[in-house]
Amino acid sequence: MTLSRGDHSLLSEWWFTIDRLQLYAICTLMLVGLIISLAASPSVAVDKGLSTFYFVKYHAIFAVVGMVLIFVISLQSPRTIRRISLLLYIVCVLSLIAVLLWGSKINGTLRWIFIFGVSFKPSEIIKPAFVVLAGWAFAETQIRKDMPALPIAIGLYITLSGLLIMQSDLGQTALITIVWGTLFFLAGLSLIWYISFISIGIVSIFVNFKSLPYFRCSFDQCFTFATNEHSQMRQAYRSFVDGGFLGRGPGAGTIKIKLPEAHTDFIFSVVAEEYGVLSCLVLLGLYAFIIYRALGCALIEEDPGICYGIIGLALLFGYQTLINMSVNVGLLPVKSMALPLLSAGGSSMFGVSTTLGMLLGLSRRRPRTTYTRPNLFFNVDS
């Protein structure tokens, strides 16, 4: 099938307005995720008494579903995306409340809900919806004075972060806090606001450090990982050291057997051990590329609502990547945060696909009223 510019079908419009380089990068990462899953998940599956390629099979299914999701969402107009976000936000907030009341425990934390026998993690899905809505609300503060936009933005944040803290999911709370704070900064938050915002963040980290046993435990593990031979952090660290620049070769990794979360949170370590740090750097570059492209798209976008949405989604994607990688290389304490596109897990894949679908959808080129010269730093070729 060939597409032409003269053809004004939905697919053709999509193909010529989408940022194709971002799409290629996303597809590459999806593919890499499948390949790495072959290396990382069999040992975990066998350990859990499942069939060897249990996780590989599901990873493949989720990857296909994820690609379809990205395609379908990116077809939508910004207005539809905003409506989907509102719907998702409401549904997920209700689900989060349901989790608190009837949720089931997986790996010691209460974050999952079962719908029709499928375990489901609402906190993964709500993030992109929240970011789009927050971006829109912040934009409204600049455009329409008659709407209580700032209280809406703050309300969205407090609702979600409150629910997440009640699940003691501090990693996700930190993530949405950073993204929301950056959007606030972008929307012209005054300096006083910004400083108080950061100090509240720091104080809350200390309060959490003192009060929540889960957090303290993982914080301790982080800074004592050198002494505890069997800790996950220690094993992850060894993966990078043993792998060196070039890695031990596909399938030759041994540390992955000892990593209980090799297929999800510590997939980056598995890549390091088998394919080497150079491959890790290439992956890092791919993630950074997606973020920079998105920022570039945001710069030439006129509508502040869409612009903030794009930046927020890019940051959500970027900071999640950064936090996961930092944990893997021993820069941050252990947080259960999946690596977008690479880690196994249905909820995480749905969340990431929604994020990227919305990102691509919002950053599609649309007819615009005036011409603005693109910024030199984040140039998007036209």
Binding site: F240, A272, L295
Partner: protein, 559 residues
């Protein structure tokens, strides 16, 4: 903060942004730029950490490659000069547990405990209760039949892996020479340590057959056995603490037998560490006493201090500094050089050493190799203990073997080079495929060597070495009885008795050195002298080994 403040102002001034797209974009661009910068910094930090970890790994791999590949060493066999086995690798099962698969920790421990009662139960229980320990080594080198029994019990989570284990079929024979290996089959001392550098040694992770050609020693199992048997019999007969012996070829330095008794079993680490079983032959230095008269005589003849026909007046004891030196059986009159040897006259040796002087004595000892340790790849001896100041009194006492301590092996090697025509000897344990080539130095004149041989032969025929004579093999030798020194002084009651021999005397092929430590035989004090302990044992050894090493037996006029 400046940029932030600027950005804030711009943003506030453009609150009505939709009407002025240009300024709107400008103000956002700055803030987006700041966000992009922070993202770049974060990604850079992660990238730097990634590279740092890889560099750590790279450095570690460079220094430590051998530590990560295989756990064990597969070693070639060690055989004697005729190919008889001295040391070999065998595969033995090692018992390990996979905690993950164990169904009942209690049952497992109880069952194993019945077979290995020495097992530390609390330690094992802790290890087996940890489900994440997929490999816990319970016992190394389990006998195959015991392994079968354990296997038959059918306990889940127990497994065996084949590990190489060094075995010594001759048990204690040549134990000191062979040395021992650690639990990873890596050589720690002796020939085993030397073997580590052999090309046949490989790192393996389970027992494999080593097909490398074996290391061939100069030792002969038969002569080694004969020497050890005679020394053990001697220790028993004379109630001695220990004994050493070494037999080597005086032309090429090949050692046919070397032993220090009580011996050690290489597979038994406790015996290896036992101080009373230490290697006295090469790793300990002693004052050997009047066997050193040979070197004094060699010195005065080789340096032409006195004429060969000279006579020495030994009537009066030597008084030097605060010491008085006299003979056990004083002789009034003059003695020839030969008689000084035969009568074992301390006074005579002392007078000759005094006549030579300390400087010349020192340089002579240096030349013949008594001042430095033998430090070869395969043979190492302890450094000789020399006097702190080599003065007149020391010169005299060294003349008859006090004030200088060397290992019996080093003495034997120098002794060999005195009788083989005066040529230096580099001792060896490793058999060379062809004739061994090494730089030979003339240490003393051939004529001096020949005169010394005559004296040694005379000493066996008419002197104190008479009990070492073996009819037909033309033995020459010299005795030495020295008071055994402890840390403070001479114990008075303990002696070291030595006999250094060479045969056949007309064209020496072999040298033999026998030493007994603190023999306490029944009878008079004279019974423990070298004449009655070391010499007869040396005679017995020569009687047994001479036919084995191919020395021709010949009819003799006397004896």
């Amino acid at each position: 903060m400046n940029t932030l403040a600027v950005g804030t102002k711009n943003a506030q001034s453009s609150r009505v942004a939709t009407r002025q797209p240009k300024s709107q974009v400008k103000s956002i661009a700055l803030r987006v730029f700041i966000i992009g910068l922070s993202i770049t910094v974060s990604f850079t930090v992660v990238a730097v950490q990634l590279i740092r970890l890889a560099v750590i790994g790279q450095n570690r791999q460079n220094t430590n490659t051998s530590q990560t590949i295989g756990e064990f060493y597969s070693r070639p066999d060690i055989v004697d000069r005729h190919g008889r086995l001295l040391a070999t690798d065998i595969a033995l099962p090692a018992l390990f547990a996979d905690s993950h698969l164990i169904t009942s920790v209690d049952e497992t421990i109880e069952s194993i405990k019945n077979i290995f009662p020495e097992l530390n139960t609390t330690k094992v229980r802790r290890a087996l209760s940890d489900k994440n320990r997929r490999y816990y080594l319970l016992k190394r080198a389990v006998a195959p039949r015991v392994a079968e029994t354990i296997n038959a019990m059918g306990l889940p989570g127990l497994g065996f892996r084949s590990e190489p284990k060094r075995k010594y079929p001759n048990v204690r024979l040549a134990g000191h020479l062979l040395g021992y290996v650690d639990s990873y089959n890596y050589g720690v001392t002796g020939v085993e340590h030397l073997l580590n550098r052999n090309k046949g040694v490989r790192r393996v992770d389970h027992a494999t057959v080593n097909t490398a050609s074996p290391l061939r020693l100069t030792i002969d199992v038969r002569t080694q056995y004969a020497l050890e048997r005679e020394l053990i019999a001697g220790i028993k007969k004379f109630k001695a603490k220990a004994a050493t012996g070494v037999l080597f070829e005086v032309q090429n330095g090949e050692i046919w037998a070397a032993a220090s008794l009580p011996g050690v079993e290489p597979a038994n680490i406790n015996e290896m560490m036992d101080r009373s079983r230490r290697d006295r032959l090469a790793s300990d230095a002693f004052e050997l006493g009047s066997v050193f008269r040979l070197f004094t005589l060699a010195m005065v003849m080789d340096l032409d201090i006195v004429t060969p026909k000279a006579l020495v007046d030994v009537t009066n004891p030597i008084k030097i500094e605060s010491f008085v030196i006299s003979d056990e059986n004083p002789f009034a009159g003059k003695l020839s050089l030969e008689q000084i040897m035969i009568r074992s006259s301390n006074v005579g040796s002392g007078i000759l050493a005094e006549a030579t002087g300390s400087e010349r004595q020192h340089s002579f000892f240096e030349r013949i190799g008594l001042t430095r340790a033998i430090n070869r790849e395969d043979i190492k001896t302890i450094s000789p203990v020399l006097p702190k100041t080599w003065g007149a009194a020391e010169t005299v006492s060294i003349g008859f073997g006090y004030g200088i301590a060397v290992s019996p092996l080093q003495f034997a090697v120098v002794f060999g080079s005195m009788v083989n025509g005066g040529i230096s000897i580099i001792p060896t344990l490793i058999l060379q495929p062809s004739n061994r080539v090494f730089s030979k130095q003339q240490l003393i004149r051939a004529k001096t060597s020949s005169r010394l041989r005559d004296m040694l032969r005379q000493n066996v025929l008419d002197g104190r070495g008479w009990r070492a004579n073996v009819v037909g093999y033309r033995v020459g030798g010299i005795t030495g009885t020295a008071d055994l020194a402890n840390d403070v002084n001479y114990e008075g009651n303990s002696v070291i008795t030595s006999f250094a021999a060479t045969f056949p005397i007309d064209k020496p092929r072999f040298a033999l050195m026998i030493t007994f430590f603190d023999p306490q035989p029944k009878g008079t004090k004279a019974m423990r002298s070298a004449e009655n302990t070391a010499a007869p044992v040396a005679g017995e050894v020569i009687r047994r080994v001479a036919p084995l090493v191919g020395v021709e037996k010949r009819a003799e006029m006397r004896g």
